[in-house]
């Protein structure tokens, strides 16, 4: 708790450098008492380093105060659609921070890291079971890197088939997350956007029309970003394979279907998962995550290096698949995140995973029902893990944007949902409660959103100026981009920082 001062404190204006006093320090460094080696030539050395100088207590206070200007999952409901913000079990953090795990060196002999490696092996097996795709590399650091891995694996397979030169297109639904087209482009492909049909699934006719010998792959998010099942995906898989292309699953929404249906069974060739979503590892304000890539036998030789394998001697090792696309990380991926995901998997088991997907879906539908009528619902069907409303009516009738609605929700004590995504829903409000929200929280959220819908009619200006009760008011994002101030020096504080000279 920071007791606020009278008046409005401009906390953001006081950075570390503004709090710095030359000569203060937060930790001491041991003195070297042995024989001294002369330093390298001065031309190789720096002669100044302008960093803030604070005592330990001051630094702790500064970052404690900063933490209090943040909202985490422990602060309350965090219904960001697609992001799957669920409770992060503390036990997972305890487990990953055990010295035996934390201090394992990435270059250690495999015999010296069997505890970690066996755990990763079992995670690999677990993910294979859950996805129905038997082969897995845990290397990708996040979803987007998992996508890159999957698409590059497809490139390698096509190359081995001699078709890489000809298959230069990847089809991506217009409801896809931005990482999908961006990944396809990074992997050198042209992106063709597939329109979403009335029912919220892919438009079969367009796919059939687009599928030809120039298509390398179709990337589909299942369930999709509308929170809906891709109807007929198992048949589309057949069409795609018939056309010689591969079917990629963006598995970031696995949490809706865990334990109930599997990508491999439906005909997907490769999928990535977002463990930092479905498997509850903390998102850290923007990572670290982990985006394992899972695939069929056919694509297995191309998996990124390393793959965890048990050898005949019972030792678990890191292997480079035969025709691997190569490395994605200097070492072996975000192992600390993978350990947490493993702990989560073991805490739940199959019944637990089904309970997760079941409750996640029930919660989303409950919210859908409670909000029904107050906001437009472009795809008015039972949903899976999330539901996408539209603020179009509020925009049209009261000149209130979804942006305003989101900001106002902050005043009601909630983190806002995802807004303006998926792009195909105008003024989108994409809400994912997840299974870890109690029904009372969903009811309170619905009540707040419905109250805001009323306010939009009665008192739109309150929404336009919101939030009113956050640590800071609505911020000027336009000027931020137009005249970027991106570091201390840009604020003109560099001279306030003492420079240490040799």
């Amino acid at each position: 708790m920071t007791a606020p001062g009278p008046g409005r404190e401009d906390f953001g204006a006081r950075l570390s450098v503004d709090r710095s006093v030359p000569g203060r320090r937060a930790v001491d460094v041991p003195t070297w008492r042995g024989a001294k080696t002369s330093l390298p030539d001065a031309s190789l050395l720096r002669d100044s380093l302008a960093l803030p100088e604070m005592s330990q207590g001051e630094l702790v206070r500064y970052y404690t105060a900063l933490s209090e200007r943040n909202y985490g999952i422990d602060s309350g409901t965090y219904p960001l659609g697609s992001c799957t913000m669920k409770y992060n079990p503390k036990v997972n953090d305890l487990i990953a921070s055990q010295p035996g795990f934390a201090n394992a060196h990435p270059q250690a002999r495999e015999e010296d890291a069997q505890g970690t490696l066996r755990t990763l092996l079992e995670l690999r097996h677990g993910l294979a079971e859950v996805t129905g795709l038997a082969h897995v590399s845990l290397a990708p650091a996040a979803g987007a890197q998992g996508e890159l891995a999957g698409v590059l694996m497809i490139s390698s397979a096509l190359e081995d088939r001699g078709e890489l030169g000809q298959r230069r297109r990847i089809l991506v639904p217009d409801s896809a997350h931005g990482t999908n087209p961006a990944t396809a482009a990074m992997a050198g492909y042209t992106v063709t956007h597939l329109p979403t049909a009335e029912n919220g699934s892919l438009d079969r006719a367009t796919i059939e029309q687009e599928l030809d010998e120039t298509v390398a792959a179709v990337m589909v998010t299942v369930p999709n970003t509308l929170g809906l099942w891709e109807q007929g995906i198992e048949e589309v898989a057949g069409l795609i394979h018939d056309a010689g292309a591969y079917l990629y699953a963006d598995g970031a929404n696995l949490n809706a279907i865990m334990g109930r249906v599997r990508y491999g069974d439906l005909g997907f060739d490769v999928a990535h998962l977002n463990l930092h979503k479905s498997f509850s590892t903390p998102h850290g304000g923007g990572g670290p995550g982990a985006g394992p890539v899972c695939c069929t036998e056919e694509l297995a030789p191309y998996l990124p290096t390393p793959v965890v394998e048990e050898c005949d001697d019972g030792v678990v090792r890191l292997a480079a698949p035969e025709r691997s696309i190569g490395r994605l990380q200097q070492f072996h991926g975000n192992v600390g995140v993978l350990l947490r995901a493993y702990a989560y998997l073991r805490a739940l088991g199959l019944d637990g995973l089904c309970a997760v997907s079941g409750q996640a879906v029930l919660n989303a539908n409950y919210l859908r029902t409670l909000l029904h009528g107050h906001y437009d619902l472009p795809y008015d069907r039972p949903v899976l893990h999330e539901v996408v409303f539209s603020g179009s009516r509020q925009r049209r009738e009261h000149d209130v944007r979804t942006y305003d609605i989101a900001k106002r929700l902050i005043d009601h004590g909630f983190h806002p949902p995802t807004v303006y995504f998926p792009l195909i829903v105008p003024e989108a409000l994409m809400i994912e409660p997840t299974e870890t929200e109690p029904p009372e929280a969903i009811e309170a959220l619905a009540q707040a959103l419905n109250a805001i819908a009323e306010e939009a009619a009665d008192d739109p200006d309150t929404l336009h100026g919101a939030p009113w009760s956050a640590p800071i008011g609505r911020l000027d994002e336009t000027t931020a981009a137009r005249r970027p101030v991106l570091r201390w020096q840009d604020v003109g504080v560099s001279e306030a920082v003492s420079r240490m000279s040799r």
């Binding site: 250690a108 198992e234 109930r260």
Partner: protein, 448 residues
């Protein structure tokens, strides 16, 4: 399970009430879109564990790794550092650790203002104008640097100067393939041509040597290429900032200052560049701004937002500068706090302590009969050791004595690396471990 799992609040009674309100008979009804023939497959997972069982299992597993107190001289990309005690506490505060990417700045100022601090620290350490909020790790950051250099120069090849970390080189190759770039490796700056978008140089290099970046920057710039330095941010506590030596892009690995190696990750890719490249940069960037609607009697206060997002995938999609979305924000926070805790003097002193301790150990090892420490120039914390037997034999002999030797680098092309192990001693290597190593090497030398 009749009673709910501890992670799931809703009880059977809650569920019944909710289903009724939704107007469906059972949960299955909500899954009716899923194709029946594929529903409820057999999935083979071990049964659920309660928390005490889980903790016992994984304590056991952690114990199956080599003991953390075992002497360990591995470096080669992951270094034992003295992480200030305040770092783990602050980073573990769940307001930080359980937040999402700060899409709603008004309730994410903690993440955002810390991010601004991070960018500032990275700029200062690297001597660059702008930094992003971090990428996955040093290797993928370097790969992104190559892609950015290619975009900026419109060239189709990059040049890696050896010795460079094979993991870094590997990731560059993976990314380059997608982007259609050729990856050349060189042993001298002479090999750079006007086909190359950039020259990538590791500082200190993979074998520990401190590189004089200025002539390399000049060579690169002469051909119209950029210089991308892959620098250890800790070593930058004493080494010249690559920006001051002419680098156009600097990447680095931030993990070790922020915490334990954790078998290599979570890592933290640092990424900084000169101002001309700002709008070409991958990743998220925080900018400083002000409130839009201050009250009548007040000045607008200062706040922080994600900015320059027109580069990013969620707006630009296939035309984005990168596909990166989730990165390593929490590690960046730890890095920032660690660097600020050390401060300018602490960072310099730590780097020099590391340098002195490594050199002292090397000198003592080099003085042992049968051992040599081949040098390639001034070096920082890693050194080559050649013993009276082959490198794998020496490594095995140390392992038998409970010591993790330096990395076997015999297969490297550099002559000094022949038959050698790459040892690492840092400011945080316990004295007792160094003594144990020297004793063991002496004994091994006697026996040979």
């Amino acid at each position: 399970m009749s009673s709910p799992h501890p992670y799931i609040p809703a009880t059977e009674a809650d569920r019944a009430r909710m289903l009724e309100r939704i107007g469906v008979d059972d949960l299955d009804a909500l899954f009716s879109d899923l194709p029946a023939s594929f529903r409820d497959p057999a999935i083979d997972l071990p049964p659920a564990l309660t928390e005490p069982e889980l903790m016992a299992l994984l304590a056991n597993r952690a114990g199956q790794n080599a003991s953390p107190s075992r002497p360990n001289f591995l470096g080669a990309g992951a270094y034992r550092r003295s992480v200030p005690s305040i770092v783990p506490y602050l980073v573990s505060r769940s307001e930080f650790s359980t937040a999402y990417t700060p899409y709603q700045p008004e309730i994410s100022q903690g993440t955002l203002q810390s991010g601004f601090e991070f960018q500032s620290v990275v700029c200062e350490l690297t001597g660059m104008d702008v930094a992003n909020l971090g990428l996955y790790d040093v290797a993928s950051a370097t790969a992104e640097a190559c892609l950015m250099a290619a975009r900026a120069t419109k060239r189709q090849a990059v040049c890696l100067l050896e010795p460079i970390h094979p993991g870094t080189a590997g990731v560059v190759k993976t990314y380059a393939r997608g982007a259609g770039l050729r990856v050349d490796t060189a042993v001298s700056a002479d090999e750079i041509t006007d086909e190359h978008a950039c020259l990538v140089v590791q500082q200190p290099d993979f074998l520990g040597t401190i590189v004089d970046l200025e002539p390399l920057a000049d060579a690169a710039h002469e051909t119209g290429a950029l210089l991308a330095a892959v620098a250890d941010p800790f070593a930058l506590g004493m080494l010249k900032a690559p920006g001051d030596a002419g680098a156009d892009i600097v990447t680095g690995e931030g993990r070790d200052l922020a915490g334990a190696p954790a078998f290599g990750g979570p890592s933290l890719g640092l990424f900084a560049a000169g101002l001309p490249y700002l709008r070409q940069m991958p990743g998220r960037i925080v900018g400083r701004t002000r409130e839009l609607h201050p009250p009548d009697d007040g000045e607008p206060r200062t706040g922080y937002v994600l900015t320059l997002q027109a580069r990013e995938q969620f707006i630009r999609r296939e035309r984005a500068t990168s596909n990166v979305s989730t990165a390593q924000a929490l590690i960046a926070l730890g890095f920032t706090i660690a660097v600020q805790a050390l401060g300018p003097r602490g960072l310099r002193e730590s780097a020099e302590l590391c340098y002195q301790r490594a050199h002292d150990a090397a000198r003592r090892i080099g003085a042992l009969p049968g051992f040599a420490v081949p040098e390639r120039g001034p070096w920082f914390q890693e050194f080559l050791v050649r013993g009276p037997m082959s490198a794998p034999e020496l490594s095995a002999a140390l392992s038998e004595r409970g010591i993790a030797a330096g990395l076997d680098v015999t297969d490297r092309p550099e002559p000094e690396a022949r038959d050698a192990l790459l040892f690492c001693v840092t400011e945080a290597t316990p004295d007792a471990h160094v003594e144990a190593l020297i004793d063991a090497l002496a004994a091994i030398g006697d026996g040979a």
